[in-house]
């Protein structure tokens, strides 16, 4: 590896969303050298994606702080391996870079949970956040009919965003029950800022039908999506549409934390009160410690950044804000827990694993994730189970396996560079892609 490809920092932050930005800013403000590594083409994470116009004030403020704090940013770089503690390897479009750190902060965010239903592999069936990301990346949706479905507060935010961009929203289908959402709204009373957000959103959504206990039963179309059949409190209805934006709340990205040996419990990265994981010097902030949104991510990021810079006293000042944000996270989790009826939505020939095209009936024969992987290649494709893993966890209560490097498919050349390092762990080439 060439000298230019080597980078050394006091603190390396993986992930440039709210948690990563807050962590980097707080660490850099104390004089530490800080580098952010992010897979996306620009900073902001999914929620502040394409940080430019129509951004919330918080996003603008934090990005400004980041600029003046002299943080080095490396976008379009995905971390795939840690050959030894203190060194991470990341792959870009044309190169591999080495990042050396004294302290590491993982702020790897979350992804949408996708659940299989007949026709969900048709083009123009996307995640809810997925379609929003596409619109933020230039997709025109003016005049398009978009059914929004799945679960979680993201659905309403996406519906409102799409309507602002000219889409017609025939319906928003939320799988959670009305009763469950009412309890959640009641819990918001204790948090005026969240309540104000909810009220503002309700106003924006005026006129869009919002169905609870509702979910997609099937998407139809020959080459591309044409319509979707939904179940709405037990009744079915078919709606013509151009896009189906469907995601069932979020699942944390914990693969890198697992690779580094950080302890997980119930699928979440375990941290102490200063956001340190079970691995000394490795911190974790934001969604991987529990899905909770921007406020939680910012508070945890700040605490991690300050602690990594040995400012524990200052970090403790954020404990109250974090506690409040975590209460919200717990309520969120309860309100949007998945209803068991969703398990009977896939048909025998519905694909569960989209990379390897493994059907529901073939996966169902197995008793564990490992057995399904070995016999059907379910979860063995390029996404490495990031889509079908959370789906099978819900459908069959399977627990995912341990994580091995590389955590994502990389070019053979990148692997070759990583093993030509002076010190390295054992590296298995997974799958036959790329």
């Amino acid at each position: 590896m060439s000298r230019e490809s080597l980078r050394q920092f006091d603190v390396v932050v993986v992930g440039g969303g709210p948690a990563g930005i807050a962590a980097a800013v707080r660490a850099a403000q104390t004089g530490m050298s800080v580098g952010i590594v992010d897979d996306n083409p620009s900073l902001g994470g999914q929620i502040w994606r394409g940080a430019n116009r129509d951004q919330p004030a918080a996003a603008r403020q934090w990005l400004q702080l980041l600029q003046s704090a002299q943080v080095t940013t490396h976008c379009g770089m995905r971390v795939f391996h840690q050959p030894e503690p203190g060194i991470l390897l990341a792959e870009g479009a044309d190169d591999v870079r080495e990042f050396r750190y004294k302290k590491l902060i993982l702020a790897t965010g979350a992804r949408e949970r996708f659940l299989p239903f007949p026709g969900w592999t048709l083009p123009n069936v996307m995640g809810a956040g997925g379609l929003q990301a596409m619109v933020k990346s230039g997709l025109p949706v003016s005049g398009m009919r978009v059914v929004v479905a799945g679960s979680g507060p993201l659905l309403l935010a996406v519906a409102s965003y799409l309507r602002k961009h000219g889409s017609i929203i025939p319906v928003v289908c939320e799988q959670a029950s009305w009763a469950s959402l009412l309890r959640f709204s009641a819990s918001l009373m204790a948090q005026p800022s969240k309540l104000a957000q909810a009220v503002a959103l309700k106003k924006e959504l005026a006129g869009i039908p919002f169905a609870t206990s509702a979910w997609p039963l099937a998407a139809h179309g020959s080459q591309v999506l044409e319509s979707v059949t939904i179940s709405r409190r037990g009744k079915t209805e078919t709606i013509a549409c151009d896009y189906l934006a469907c995601g069932f709340h979020l699942v944390p990205n914990t693969e890198l934390a697992q690779l580094l040996g950080c302890q997980l419990s119930d699928g979440l990265v375990q941290v102490d009160e200063f956001q340190q994981t079970s691995v000394e010097g490795v911190f974790c902030a934001g969604e991987p410690t529990g899905i909770g949104g921007v406020e939680k991510s910012l508070a945890e990021g700040e605490i991690a950044g300050l602690t990594a810079a040995n400012r524990r006293q200052e970090a403790t000042r954020l404990f109250t804000a974090r506690a409040k944000a975590r209460r919200f996270a717990r309520n969120l989790d309860r309100a949007y827990s998945l209803c068991p009826e969703l398990k009977s939505v896939p048909a025998p020939d519905t694909l569960v694993c989209r990379c390897e095209d493994v059907s529901y009936s073939r996966t169902k024969e197995h008793s564990s994730w490992r057995s399904a992987k070995l016999h059907t290649r379910c979860g063995m494709g390029p996404c490495q189970g990031r889509v079908c893993g959370p789906a099978t966890e819900f459908l069959f209560q399977w627990k995912p396996d341990s994580v091995r490097p590389p955590v994502l498919p990389v070019r053979v050349g990148s692997l070759a560079e990583s093993v030509s390092q002076p010190a390295h762990g054992s590296l298995a080439v997974q799958g036959d892609h790329q």
Binding site: M126, G138, R354, R386
Partner: protein, 81 residues
């Protein structure tokens, strides 16, 4: 307002605005990003580089996640994988 740029999608010229990702260009051009192992057409799902459904050949490099790559003038994108 971003400037328009022209790229090639499966041989045909397409004009998009600066900042548009390749996955979006393919969706605008109504081209499936890839054909699955059981020959189904596939398009973007997650929009954030996780699902690998949007991979396409960009400037001769195969298996690129098109949702993570902004379009560039003169770029050559093909979905013949």
């Amino acid at each position: 307002m971003p400037e328009p740029l022209i790229l090639k999608v499966n041989g045909a010229e397409l004009s998009v605005l600066q900042g548009t990702t390749v996955a979006v260009a393919l969706t605008i051009a109504r081209q499936a990003c890839r054909i699955s192992v059981s020959t189904q057409p596939r398009g973007p799902l997650c929009g954030m580089g996780i699902c690998f459904e949007c991979r396409a050949t960009i400037n001769g490099k195969r298996h690129r996640r098109s949702c993570q790559i902004p379009c560039e003038a003169g770029m050559d994108v093909s979905t013949d994988e």
